[in-house]
């Protein structure tokens, strides 16, 4: 493996392992948003952002 390949592999590994500032409890909370018991509430909150803000969501109902 060349130095460049090693560097790219290290970068890939770092990218795949996530942000080290998140501890295990943080990661557990965020998994609840994306695929756990808070997924519905998270999806509704994202959709509500578009309803509440015409600049972000536009004015057509189809954009919401």
């Amino acid at each position: 493996m060349t130095k460049g390949e090693q560097l790219l592999a290290d970068m890939r590994r770092a990218r795949r392992s996530g942000d080290p500032r998140l501890d295990d409890a943080d990661r557990a909370i965020l998994r609840r948003l994306t695929s756990g018991d808070l997924a519905d509430e998270f999806a509704e909150a994202l959709a509500q952002d578009l309803v509440d803000d015409d600049l972000l969501g536009g004015t057509s109902p189809d954009d919401k």
């Binding site: 996530g18 942000d19 998140l22 909150a45 954009d63």
Partner: protein
């Protein structure tokens, strides 16, 4: 670089990206980052707000200022004129849609979403018209 939505952005911070997501640098638009930040800063009494309030300070910092080697936030300024042009051409879309479509035109003509629910009908229609592929990976 590939353009992702809120779901995949959060999963990248967690280190839990889907295996079928391309192995590339992930990026979000400022509008997407804005929606993520709303979850941190908007007050609310629901379970979601309570959960977000329980994040550690370093965890909140990872949301507020993502490490670019994990998740890049695109500078909106070079994209804004084209985003406004796309918005106007398709009847005044919101910034979220226009910015994501514009970003994808500059980065491989693909968009990656982590939830089918997060892809609006207008996004699909305009993306098809612009030759942009919309992918959903869970």
């Amino acid at each position: 670089m590939i353009i992702v939505d809120e779901y995949l952005a959060i999963r990248s911070l967690v280190g839990d990206t889907p295996s079928d997501l391309p192995d590339d640098v992930l990026a979000i638009t400022t509008s997407v980052h804005w929606r993520i930040l709303q979850r941190l800063h908007l007050p609310g009494g629901g379970q979601l707000s309570q959960a977000m309030a329980a994040l550690s300070e370093p965890g909140r910092a990872a949301f507020r200022r993502p490490a670019p080697e994990i998740l890049e936030i695109l500078d909106p300024r070079p994209l804004l004129d084209q985003a406004a042009e796309i918005s106007a051409a398709y009847g005044g879309t919101g910034l979220l849609i226009a910015e994501m479509l514009t970003a994808s035109l500059h980065h491989g003509r693909t968009l990656w979403y982590g939830s089918e629910r997060n892809v609006g009908r207008r996004t699909r229609d305009i993306a098809r018209d612009l030759g942009i592929t919309v992918n959903v990976v869970t």
